[in-house]
Amino acid sequence: MAEAVGRSLRRALLRREQMLVLAAAGAIVLLASALPLARLLTEIPAAGAAALGVLSTLRPWLLLIRSLVLAAAVTGCAVAIGVPLGLLIARTDLPARRALWMLHAFPMFLPPFLLALGWFQFLGREGFLGSQATARLLFSEVGLVVVLALAFSPVVTSMIALALLGMDASFEEAARVTARPWRVATRILLPAARPALALAAIVVFALSVSELGVPMFFRVDVFPAAVFARLGGIQYAPGEAFALVVPLIPIALGLLFLERRLVGAGSFAVAGLRGMSRAPIPLSGWRAALAAASWSVAFAGALPLAALALRAARGGGFGKLPQWIGQAPWTSLGTAVVAATVIAAVGLVLGHGAARRLRGALTLDALAVLAFVTPASVLGVGLIAVWNRPATSALYASVAILVIGYIARYAVVGIRAVASVVLQSAVHLEEAAAAAGARFWRRLVRIILPVNLRGIAAAWLLAVVFCLRDFETAVLYYPPGREPLPVRIFTLEANGPPPVVAALAVAQVLMTALVLAAGVLLVPRRRPE
């Protein structure tokens, strides 16, 4: 009898294997991303009338408007830089396009306040090219917008370039038979890349609204800084922090709505580098001028990194690095690798599910998007509300909270990257395996994973880099004495020796560059078709 029950239970579980695997991956997203957001909704009323009273004053609303205006300005500038550059890189005969793309994109993988720090070494009052006037410009809304636009424009460039490179060559070739290159670019290529542009703009806006390090460094008052100030320092009032995240929630929901409306299924757009080998559009007489302009933008993005290296070298910062760096790089690397591994595993299941339109996977994808576009301060406060309690204090006081926070914010990176590569592989490969008698787990491990290994490895690498660059979430709840490197640099920036701070920043740059280089070398080569 018991044996029969066991057999039928096993059979029932096997029949639901796919659903169970999806549920397990979904549980991770729900626990990491959805629970903090849901918890906030219950904590806010409990914050008390006095705390909620902070919203009855004018100041937070003015700050919010200022943050939204600045984020819109950053997004506008990033789009203005990224769209033409993406088009030039993907589809024209601009010289050394790949090198240009790499140089331009690299700052995107760094915490933006590192770039602010670099610009300060150049244009601050005592900078290499600095004066009162340049310092005044830098420490203003204009400086903030320019620095963030240079930091985030590679997001637009890369998404546009990948969308154009992944596009079917016949679209373009059919148009080039009848129209001049400019018309082909503006009437065929860019409109076809509209979902990628919409997604890029949403990502840049969300990153800009979340940004904490650059505004604080440039002494520009923004909304996330008000939340941060109430979680530590002289304005400590956690109840008010809960109250202050209230206006940010509709903004996050609005961004999610826009993403679903403007991007939709295009968010899983098939991207690749096949188009790089296609005959490029000739720039003819414009080639030299456009090359000079494009390389100037790329150098402008990378210039602050050179300034940091120079400051560190001149002031002997590198020599003092061992005394100041502590455990921070290992904390950064360790937590990023663990979180990225979970993100890639979750991405494999949910990204595959989303690409194949499986029930539940698309909802979980939407949740992951919501967690990403939600201002980091909201997610951070939510994570504190969930995990900072006696029952979970051991976890909250350890590096595990960093891993949870990274998974919460960047799960979408794994899901979207894997969905994009799964869409490029034939569904028949999976169906042939199912017809051959393989259940879901075996198909996942023996067919879906190896067939898409290259893309999944790239998703893992991207997740590692996103976790490494995170500052604005981790700074809200990092465990004492176990801060990741970006947090350590930021906390030392106020009163540490400038050459040492610059050397720490260079260490962050080198760590990111090494991870990217190792990743590119280790990502498996494309198998012949």
């Binding site: 029949r15 034939a426 028949h428 490969l429 169906e431 042939a432 395996a433 199912a434 017809a435 051959a436 008698g437 393989a438 259940r439 075996r442 023996r446 067919i447 190896p450 067939v451 290994l453 198998r527 012949p528 078709e529």
Partner: protein, 247 residues
């Protein structure tokens, strides 16, 4: 005798579009049925319903008398149906060797390593690919890939093999050669098969019977001779005229 594959009153809709419209069909054990129809007639949808990758809104699918799908419900999962498939794009797993492609289904069935080895060797020998066990699909010619695909389908002794226009992208010479290989393999093993095609020559070369599909329905069913004797529609007449002129 119980039919190997039986479809009864099948209807499949995508949104408002009716892809299969009250279709009924049987394939006897050991029979090769050619399902012939123009593009968009619903042939591939029929194949996907039998495999369990699409669930019909109405009707019943039975495999050896057992209900596999019924009116919006997937009763038997695709991996439990004991079928094999050869897709148009072949869907050979690129990361697995030829032997790995054949072993995959055998492992799912719980075959021992010795049994797997013996079956792989004999099947590859039969399709003329002895010595290619360690090659990967990317290292094979088009014809060799077709042979691997049919070997992968047959190595498990499936209940039935479903073939979805596997030869449609090949040149005439290779197509003729592989048709002969397919026919001999299916006949000597007495394998039940459903061969989906839009080419009457392929249907006539392989099928014991031919079922002609148009707009989601079977419009005529029988041997090539019975189709010739009494073509039921303009489409069938056109096919027969083309076939006669090509012959």
């Amino acid at each position: 005798m119980t039919a190997a594959i039986e479809l009864e009153g099948i209807t499949l809709r995508y949104s408002e579009r009716r892809v299969i419209d009250g279709l009924s069909l049987t394939v006897a054990p050991g029979e090769v049925l050619a399902l012939l129809g123009p593009s968009g007639s619903g042939k591939t949808s029929v194949l996907r319903i039998i495999l369990g990758f699409a669930t019909p809104q109405t009707g019943t699918v039975r495999l050896s008398g057992e209900v596999a799908s019924q009116a919006g419900r997937l009763v038997v999962l695709p991996e439990e149906r004991g079928l094999a498939v050869v897709f148009q794009d072949l869907a050979l797993w690129p990361h697995l060797s030829v032997a790995g492609n054949l072993a995959f289904g055998l492992k799912s069935r719980g075959a021992t390593p010795r049994e797997r080895e013996a079956r792989i060797q004999s099947t590859l020998g039969r399709v003329g690919l002895a010595g290619k066990e360690r090659s990967h699909p990317g290292q094979l010619s088009g014809g060799e890939r077709q042979r691997v695909a049919i070997a992968r389908a047959l190595v498990r002794d499936p209940r039935a093999v479903l073939l979805d226009e596997p030869l449609s992208n090949l040149d005439v010479g290779l197509k003729r050669e592989l048709l002969s290989v397919f026919r001999d393999l299916l006949k000597e093993r007495r394998t039940t098969a459903l061969y989906v095609t839009h080419d009457l020559r392929e249907a006539a070369a392989l099928g014991d019977r031919i079922a002609v599909m148009e707009q989601g329905r079977i419009v005529q069913e029988g041997t090539l001779e019975s189709l010739r004797a009494n073509p039921s529609s303009g489409f069938v007449r056109t096919l027969l005229d083309d076939f006669a002129s090509a012959s």
